[in-house]
């Protein structure tokens, strides 16, 4: 049953071809068997999952059933989960048991979904390889010597290895789309404000957005439909109706205008990844879409802008970790300053410290205008490019990442090399747009992803474009060796 998609499992549960308990047991057994080699989970909720599964079975028996009732999933360990350790991949929160549920966790629980566990991630979602986690790196199921991407690396590895039929993620600068691309999965980052950020441990509040990593666009449509929507507890949540994403999947693509930014195909892109994008476009043309060359002239500003804005917001958000009310506290502090500095020095890893210090520097007196204000202006330029492009096209397509998955340890020395891995992702967050990555083939036997970027609140069109492609191809149906 683990080779089925989430949508197929949901149908089987509803038709009572299998029970949630059976299904949950099967995934828990796979986690027990495979997690030691992948390190995809930080916490496995063996007993809690079975209790939830039995409750779901009782609901199904009563006929009190929603589309997702009884379907298991995993949450990235950035989502606060009541009564469950929520570490955010950090030593700082190794001892933190969340007293409440994030809105996403609450909504999916109410939908009757069964939580299998919490997945590994880069510390505080800062990283593109899952190597900054306090709990150790996650291995890519397609090749254990390679990274699964990050920061939602545990979610991606768990779904790719069929240890969970879907997992949540968060995407501040590519953290859903990049790991989905590197593990052969579908990963969607919705429009900023579409999904509530309440209870998601904040990294960069103007960029953070929650989404899902799944096998198919159909799976993503089901989950997003249950997660999205206004939440009064998130002041940046948008009060706007959630369309029926599943119904939208079947819209024909005839006449779809696809923009192809020439800047996405410049130096830095592995030519074989570029060729895979062009092969995917051939299929879209066959489906009746029209491809137009476009330009995003300020694209080159996106990574440097991101590495001012995101660290600035992170330095502010992470100031709450002070060793006083929750989280790590150092031994025998001599005074309050010593308590703060040592608790933070010990609790945070190197990448988080780099980002906090970068953010502190760019916000400090005398540098604010040169860095932070400048980056807020270049952010406007980046957004304007996208807005102009969407006057002539419906979606923008390109590679999700410049290369397939890289080796563990390969990019840990120089932070800039690591940062450039999200070159096609960062701008989408800066503009607040939705983006999806879907499997589009293999390079060196490793999966690569096609990124589709949409206009604001156009998730339905992205999911439809992804779904129509997935009807014509089977890249999304491939399972890594050893996990079939």
């Amino acid at each position: 049953m683990h080779t089925k998609t989430l949508a197929q499992l949901a149908r089987d549960l509803k038709a009572r071809k299998l029970s949630s308990e059976e299904l949950t047991r099967s995934y828990l057994a796979r986690i027990e068997r495979f997690n030691p080699q992948l390190n995809a989970f930080i916490t496995v909720l063996q007993e809690e999952a079975l209790v939830a599964a039995r409750a779901a079975d009782a609901r199904i028996k009563r006929g009190d059933v929603g589309v997702l009732t009884g379907v298991p999933l995993a949450h990235k360990d950035i989502f606060c989960t009541a009564g469950v350790k929520t570490s955010c991949g950090s030593k700082m929160l190794d001892n933190f048991v969340s007293p409440y549920d994030a809105t996403v966790v609450e909504r999916l629980r109410q939908a009757g979904m069964v939580l299998l566990g919490k997945t590994n991630m880069d510390e505080f979602a800062m990283g593109s390889s899952n190597e900054t986690s306090f709990y150790g790196p996650v291995k890519n199921p397609w090749d254990p010597t390679r990274v699964p991407g990050g920061s939602s690396g545990g979610s991606a590895a768990a779904v790719a290895a069929r240890l969970a039929p879907a997992a949540t993620g968060t995407d501040t600068g590519g953290s859903i789309r990049q790991p989905a691309a590197l593990t052969g999965l579908t990963g969607i980052k919705p429009t900023y404000g579409r999904v509530s950020r309440y209870g998601i441990i904040a990294f960069a509040s103007s960029l953070d957005q929650a989404g899902v990593i799944t096998y198919t666009a159909e799976d993503a449509a089901l989950l997003l439909g249950a997660m999205a929507g206004f939440d009064p507890r998130d002041s940046t949540s948008v009060d706007r109706p959630v369309p029926d994403y599943t119904a939208a999947l079947e819209h024909p693509l005839k006449g779809l205008r696809i923009g192809l930014p020439k800047e996405f195909f410049d130096q830095g892109l592995d030519g074989r990844v570029g060729a895979a994008v062009h092969a995917a476009l051939t299929i879209y043309k066959k489906l009746g879409a029209e491809v137009r060359d476009i330009s995003l002239p300020n694209f080159w500003l996106s990574v440097p802008t991101y590495y001012v804005v995101a660290p600035a917001e992170c330095s502010s958000n992470l100031s709450r970790f002070d060793g006083v009310r929750f989280g790590h506290r150092c031994e025998s502090p001599v005074d309050l300053l010593d308590l703060y500095t040592r608790s933070r020095g010990e609790g945070f890893g190197a990448e988080v410290k780099r980002r906090i210090m970068t953010g502190t520097y760019v916000l400090s007196a005398g540098y604010y205008d040169a860095y932070y204000l400048k980056a807020q202006k270049t952010r406007t330029l980046i957004r304007q490019d996208f807005i102009a492009a969407f006057e002539n096209v419906d979606v923008i397509m390109g590679p999700a990442t410049p290369t397939p998955a890289f080796g563990l340890g390969e990019k840990t020395e120089d932070p800039i090399t690591m940062y450039l891995n999200d070159i096609y992702a960062n701008g989408v967050n800066l503009a607040g747009l939705p983006g999806i990555s879907i499997p589009m083939g293999f390079v060196d036997k490793l999966p690569v992803g096609l990124q589709i970027i949409g206009n604001y609140f156009d998730e339905a069109r992205l999911l439809c474009a992804a779904h129509q492609y997935q009807r014509e191809t089977d890249w999304h149906g491939q399972i890594p060796k050893g996990f079939q």
């Binding site: 009064p232 940046t236 440097p304 010593d338 410290k353 970068t358 202006k377 270049t378 406007t380 800039i416």
Partner: protein, 95 residues
């Protein structure tokens, strides 16, 4: 641009991060590289560009000024390193 060890110590102090002396050179190198990288922004012409505050140009939502949360101090303090009689304990601040 190249940050000195003293500049890194000063940033770490502002950020309330204890960094050991042996780690300072590595942070100096990393942070200098990051600042060099983001210095590319200088090449962008932004004299007439407004800074972007929100991706959707939304203003802050307001809610009615009514009590919506209940007091859950005991529950929240379960995560605290040190509490006594409902208070969070820290080293002595005032002599």
């Amino acid at each position: 641009m190249s940050l000195t060890s003293d500049e890194v110590r000063s940033i770490a102090r502002l950020a309330r991060l204890a960094i050991s002396d042996q780690d300072i050179p590595r942070y100096a190198d990393n942070l200098s590289r990051i600042l060099d990288f983001v210095a590319q922004l200088d090449k962008a012409e932004t004299a007439s560009v407004a800074p972007m505050a929100h991706p959707l140009d939304m203003s802050q939502q307001l809610r009615a000024d009514v009590v919506t949360e209940t007091n859950q101090r005991e529950l929240f303090q379960k995560n605290a390193p040190q509490v006594e009689a409902g208070l969070y304990l820290v080293p002595k601040v005032i002599e």
